[in-house]
């Protein structure tokens, strides 16, 4: 029961972390390696707003989300736009800018475990006889809401449909008058905001540390690799697989093994199904 519950929480954590990345890649074929940096960035911005500018929680949270989206847009406008299509440069540039962002926080003195964000609701619930705090339940709730929102957005709104169009065939979509630059900007903003949202929900469970930036990136990438990059269904499924795998590892082995198991899962996926659990044939061509 405990494993089930905590596995569920962990899986939704991974979904929150990875979905932004997979969204951006799925729509615009942009690997946003600054994803983890934006995650940490949002956490620190929220902290700064609350503790230095003395803003109340909700405005601070909203502003930090907006700033995350803004960072995504800026990264696209000033960096990715100019090097689009050059795969290697996209990776290196976004990775470098992410590293720069994370290390800037380290340089500014945000070290150690003194930085925390408040939880939405205090308190602990009991499900069966397993104690679980409300914040962890929040993770699941926010995850479900986000997935539902994305689903509704891409199925039923004009912009959402345009995004899906671009995702399927960029050139055809461009011929139909969908602006590829605009959608990519939008995708980056959305993806970054999702990363920010993940930060706001997940950071209260622990404290904000710079290393989380790298770990988040790694976990997001891991989920995407296992699920097949850009495949949304695959991402969700992979998040569940990895989420439960991690919790089981922590329960029966040790925390250290979390990353080991994750990586082993990736390598196993690569050998068994190179296109990921849900990768399509097209992606296989691209990958292999």
């Amino acid at each position: 029961m405990e494993i089930l519950l905590y596995g569920l929480v962990n899986s939704f954590k991974l979904i929150l972390i990875a979905f932004g990345f997979t969204l951006v890649y799925g729509i615009s074929r942009l690997p946003n390696f600054a994803h983890g940096a934006i995650f940490v960035f949002t956490g620190f911005v929220a902290w700064i707003m609350m503790h230095k500018l003395n803003l109340p929680y909700y405005p601070a949270a909203l502003l930090s989300l907006a700033s995350a989206a803004l960072v995504g847009v800026l990264i696209y406008q000033f960096i990715l736009k100019r090097i689009r299509g050059m795969n290697m440069n996209e990776i290196i540039a976004t990775y470098a800018i992410g590293v720069a962002l994370i290390e800037t926080f380290r340089w500014l003195g945000f070290r150690g475990t003194t930085f925390t964000l408040p939880v939405f609701f205090e308190g602990v619930a009991f499900i069966g006889d397993v104690p679980i705090d409300y914040q962890r339940l929040m993770v699941i709730g926010v995850g479900v809401v986000m997935l539902a929102a994305v689903w509704i957005f891409t199925k039923f709104t004009r912009t959402g449909l345009a995004l899906r169009g671009i995702a399927q065939d960029e050139r055809a979509a461009m011929m139909l008058g969908i602006d590829s630059d605009l959608t990519a900007t939008l995708a980056m903003a959305l993806g970054s905001a999702m990363s920010g949202l993940a930060a706001l929900v997940i950071f209260p469970l622990g404290s904000i540390v710079v290393e989380a930036g790298y770990n988040t990136l790694i976990f997001a990438l891991a989920v995407c690799m296992v699920g097949g990059i850009g495949s949304w269904g695959g991402t969700v499924l992979a998040a569940f697989v990895l989420g439960f795998l991690q919790v089981i590892t922590v329960t029966y082995l040790a925390t250290h093994f979390q990353m080991v198991v994750t990586l082993a899962a990736i390598i196993a996926t690569l050998i068994l199904r190179p296109s990921g659990l849900f990768g399509k044939h097209k992606e296989l061509e691209e990958r292999v």
Partner: protein, 337 residues
């Protein structure tokens, strides 16, 4: 940009005749070709003598060579084979731990443990990366990014090789002159050997894989095998650098898998100009002393690297070496349209 004019570039006569053909007629032409190479070789060989009076900078010179090796490995993989490897520190760590283990268990001199660790480490890295070889582009980059982390966690989790403390008391070099010249000469040998390899037939096949792997397959060549070979060469360089580092610091530890060893070589390659290996070396010669100067600022070092790297990529910089060699090999003049 002047209106009505365009810039015309013309190869210097000697360049036109000498590309790939080594029959030259006069000392002037030979020196034109050899001067840049000699500048690098002599410069590196003389550097320890000049820096003799600045012991601190002698250490920096060693680090420059280490990073030059790593940059070459990255450049070779990225621009010759088409595999972007974000985990250069994997090679360093494997080489470093390998050398430390060898030197502590066999009690042999660094001159035996380093080559052994380099070759053994390269075999290990190649085997470890074997499952990822069919991958391309983003996918390969992602997986390689994870390898060093993987190693760190494994060492932590199993408390291998001294766990988080690392392995102390690795034998150092007895003679500082030997320490420097061995590394410098090795760097030069690796540089020219790898450049030579690139124009040999194997090198052509490797380039062919980057251009068009389907066609290489249709030529009856096992591309996984060729890629594995390329990874072996690159990791040989990386592991050599790591092994050397272990003996310089007389220590091998988890920080050998750290980010610095992955990102600085990338920055050096991009700044120096990729695709020629020389550019990577040049980049390392420029960036490493800069980083030493910034050492006092801690994390700002990495920040500045990353920013320089991004800036160069975004303005589509061709890299320093490509710019210089263009100026060296070609005339430029304005021509009316």
């Amino acid at each position: 940009m002047k209106s009505g004019l365009r810039k015309e570039r013309i190869d210097r006569g000697i360049k036109v005749r000498s590309d790939g053909i080594y029959a030259l007629s006069s000392w002037r032409e030979i020196s034109f070709l050899m001067a840049p190479r000699m500048l690098l070789v002599c410069g590196l060989l003389l550097a320890p003598l000049i820096l003799h009076f600045f012991p601190y900078w002698q250490k920096v010179l060693l680090i420059v060579c280490i990073y030059a090796l790593l940059s070459m490995a990255f450049d070779f993989l990225a621009n010759y084979v088409g595999l972007v490897c974000l985990g250069g520190s994997f090679f360093v760590g494997v080489g470093g731990y390998g050398a430390a283990l060898l030197s502590k268990s066999l009690h042999c001199s660094p001159f035996i443990s380093i080559p052994l660790a380099a070759v053994g480490g390269a075999c290990f890295c190649t085997l470890a990366l074997l499952p990822c070889l069919p991958l391309r582009g983003v996918y390969f980059a992602i997986v390689t990014l994870m390898y060093p982390l993987f190693m760190t966690r494994i060492i932590e989790a199993f408390e291998l090789f001294g766990g988080t403390n690392g392995m102390m008391d690795v034998a150092g070099f007895a003679n500082p002159w030997l320490e420097q010249y061995f590394l410098i000469i090795a760097t030069l040998v690796f540089l020219f050997a790898l450049r030579r390899l690139a124009v040999e037939d194997v090198g052509l096949v490797i380039k062919g894989i980057k251009d068009n792997d389907q066609s290489v397959k249709a030529s009856g060549i096992n591309i996984t095998f060729i890629k594995a070979q390329a990874i072996f060469y690159a990791s040989l360089l990386g592991c050599f650098a790591g092994a050397y580092l272990a003996h310089i610091y007389m220590w091998a530890g988890l920080s050998m898998f750290a980010l610095d060893f992955s990102i600085i070589p990338i920055a050096a390659t991009v700044v120096g100009g990729g695709g020629s290996l020389l550019g990577a070396v040049l980049g390392a010669i420029l960036l490493v002393p800069l980083s030493e100067a910034l050492r006092a600022f801690g994390p700002l070092r990495i920040v500045s690297y990353s920013l320089i790297l991004t800036a160069v990529i975004v303005v589509k910089g061709e890299g320093l070496l490509n710019y210089l060699s263009r100026k060296y090999n070609q005339f430029e003049r304005w021509k009316e349209i």
